[in-house]
């Protein structure tokens, strides 16, 4: 979508338009930095020194990047074992980033002997915030697009975009068409869910018992699973009847609830 946004702004901004419309990576960087600032502030109110928070965040971010790249790589290996054809992994997976970041940060917190759930509570609003920016980046890149729709919500992506190429490859669209067929704007649905999660979790009282983080994981899992129904890109992978992300949502929610319950029982 970025080329089209640049084109639409060019009459007003000229060559500056290309600088103003950010790419996927730029949106991800903006979201990560703003998220880090919010987390440091929230963690400070919950008793974490800034340098401790930043140490945990650095490790969590690095592990999040690894996790985000790992999920598509695993999908590539699974596809290779299924049909004998190796598909080089591309892109990143939001769920991989979340799981990698939480695991890395938790290990760091355990090593520092700091309360894990309290810090996770501090991260909850920022995760919604980061998700919002990441999905706007997806919208810009045109990845993670939705199913073909005739509803008024439908949007089209320009020629050369992922949606366009998949529609052409499936025979539903001529290569000469100016744009893809109308599809659900799933990136914008997801970004909206990020805003809602941020506002809801931020409004919750935070006493550092992990409740806000659990609410975020459940909310994200539900929102993501619903949005997956409207996704149209086939490359995201499936496990049985569920998409990879729906499966990860179920597992993540169950594991988080079990770990939280266990932590509450052990703390009395």
């Amino acid at each position: 979508m970025r080329p089209r946004l640049v084109m639409l702004l060019e009459p007003w901004l000229g060559s500056l338009a290309a600088l103003v419309v950010p790419s996927y990576a730029v949106m991800l960087v903006i979201g990560s930095l703003l998220g880090a600032i919010v987390i440091v502030d929230e963690a400070r109110r919950l008793g974490f020194a800034r340098r401790d928070s930043l140490a945990v965040l650095s490790v969590a971010y690095a592990c999040g990047l690894v996790g985000a790249y790992l999920v598509p790589a695993v999908q590539g290996v699974v596809a290779w074992s299924d049909n004998g054809r190796f598909v080089a992994p591309t892109g990143m997976a939001a769920y991989g980033g979340l799981i990698g970041g939480v695991l890395g940060g938790s290990v760091m917190l355990a090593r520092m002997r700091r309360p894990i759930w309290t810090f996770l509570d501090a991260t909850a609003p920022a995760l919604g915030l980061g998700y919002f920016f990441a999905r706007l980046g997806c919208f810009s890149a045109g990845c993670d697009y939705g199913r073909i729709t005739t509803s008024r919500l439908g949007i089209t992506f320009p020629a050369g975009s992922y949606a366009f190429r998949d529609h052409v490859a499936s025979g539903a669209l001529s290569p000469d068409a100016p744009s893809s067929l109308p599809v659900h704007p799933t990136q914008l649905y997801a970004a909206l869910s990020g805003v809602v999660l941020y506002l809801l979790v931020r409004a919750m009282p935070s006493d550092g018992d992990g409740r806000r983080f659990v609410a975020l994981v459940i909310g994200y899992g539900v929102a993501r699973s619903v949005i997956e129904v409207f996704r149209g890109d086939a490359s995201r992978g499936h496990i049985g009847a569920l998409s990879t992300s729906q499966m990860l949502a179920v597992v993540t929610v169950l594991v988080t609830l079990a770990a939280w319950r266990r932590a509450r029982v052990s703390s009395g």
């Binding site: 703003l34 400070r44 919208f139």
Partner: protein, 177 residues
């Protein structure tokens, strides 16, 4: 006679955490602004009027299936359909007609030239090769598109910026606390 007033030296008020507190406090407004941005983006991307090439089974010049039809039917498998000539450097749409989309994933691609131009220019390089022809329909088995790991690495290295900022921020906090 007035008594000499003691001189007062104003020292800067150090407010550790003031920076992030200020930004965090404004974040709800920023997010509401983000919601407005979502609406604007959606409006900008809302479907334009159909242009040439959209599916119209009643038009013999454009016998493309309507949406929903032929979804499982690949471009190359439609009998009697001859894709447009895929000339080198002819741009994205020509490549896309021959499954150049697959180049990104490292799958074979027929007659695709400069696949990097088709996409974001990040991570695809395509060799030139003549696809075998079965009847009038080219079959995509020719060239091998390879992912350039260095290009991908360069494209992804920007994502390390937040990590660098966080490490630098921490060092600064340690130095001044």
């Amino acid at each position: 006679m007035m008594a000499a007033r003691p001189s007062v030296t104003l020292s800067p008020v150090v407010d550790p955490g003031g920076f992030e507190r200020g930004i965090a406090r404004r974040m709800p407004q920023l997010m509401l602004g983000g919601l407005a941005l979502l609406v604007i983006l959606w409006w900008m991307a809302a479907q334009p009027p159909p242009g040439p090439g959209w599916g119209d089974p009643n038009n013999p010049q454009q016998p493309w299936p309507q949406q929903g039809q032929g979804q499982q039917q690949g471009y190359g498998q439609q009998p009697g359909r001859v894709p447009p000539p895929n000339t080198p450097s002819s741009g994205c749409s020509a490549c896309a007609g021959l499954d150049c989309a697959d180049c990104l994933s490292g799958i074979d691609c027929a007659d695709c030239v400069d696949c990097g131009d088709c996409l974001s220019g990040l991570d695809c390089s395509c060799a030139v090769s003549k696809a075998p022809v079965v009847g009038a329909v080219p079959v995509a088995t020719g060239a091998r598109c390879s992912t350039n790991p260095w290009k991908r690495l360069a494209g992804s290295s920007g994502l390390l910026l937040p990590l660098v900022v966080m490490i630098g921020w921490r060092r600064r906090v340690r130095r001044y606390s």
